[in-house]
Symmetry: C2
Subunit: 175 residues, 2 copies
Amino acid sequence: MDDEEARTRLLDAAEELFYRHGIQAVGMDRIRTASGVPLKRLYRLYPAKETLVTAYLERRDRRWTTGLREAVTGAAEPVPAVFDWLARWFSEPDFRGCAFLNAYGELGAAAPEVVRAHKAELHALLTELVPAGAPPALADQLLILVEGAAAVAALSPGPEPALRAREVAEALVRQ
Amino acid sequence: MDDEEARTRLLDAAEELFYRHGIQAVGMDRIRTASGVPLKRLYRLYPAKETLVTAYLERRDRRWTTGLREAVTGAAEPVPAVFDWLARWFSEPDFRGCAFLNAYGELGAAAPEVVRAHKAELHALLTELVPAGAPPALADQLLILVEGAAAVAALSPGPEPALRAREVAEALVRQ
DNA sequence: GGGCGCGGAGAACGTTCGTTCTCCGGCTCC
DNA sequence: GGAGCCGGAGAACGAACGTTCTCCGCGCCC
């Protein structure tokens, strides 16, 4: 097992545990056990828990944004495609809301800056998707629909919140 | 200082600290210092931290739901009034998102059931507000708008998310 | 007024956390 | 083949947590 594989195993374990149980509720020893990476190597690759938390959020941000981008680029109707993608995400068995909103709610001002960056990226992506002549507030409204669907789905999982938000979004872009 | 005042002081301190810093980041000793209530009395009134957390969320739930109800009952247009009330809430200087969503994000399955109850109450209130002939999905969509505005405002405070959501809600109820 | 009991102040306890250290086996290099 | 070093396993450390205990001073009753 080289350092690269150890990093992957650590991030896999950290993502699963941090996302499911919250960040403060998961100790480094639990990540060590789940990943099989010795503590010494863990602290060589990530010198403190905070760096592991940041790396977990950054990798998840890359995967999430890339997945959404791939799902909507080339789609005939990109805005509804966003919510179809959300519906699939909300239906994953271990879905538990937006990891970045959860991290911000838990850590507050101490949350790493990738949390803000994630929301800025999402807003930028939505801005690209709205038609050229649309009012500038449309991207803000779509952002509210995306976040709202995720927040509602966090407490009652399933695709329904995404479908309800999709209906609203379709009505918005038609105008 | 009788027990009733001690309870108030404890809940005030707990609300301020839990809401600002998160639940796990605040120790009982910090609540003792902030409230001025001795540890012995604290544990007589709330035998464990979990009971204090639940009491904090239950009181906040009562205040929040009552405040929203009072703001919309009797309003000429109750649905937009919801978002005007949200705009004022988001503008409070220490606004940091929905305490119940934050608690759920932090505690996950270990969150007290008042978190779910809070969302159910909000959904019920929105159901009362929609016109009689409206499609049943409308309340779900309004819930998404409320939650989404709160989530967006958590990271970029100010009334704007509520105003954007209000515009969408007005378009929805007009149909 | 003297024993008594309640409540306040904070020390103390056991556990858990993040992080570091110790020990030891196995590989490398001459 | 032997010395030296790197990495693994897990004990150990200091701090912080939730919770309990000890001590002490003050008010009450006869």
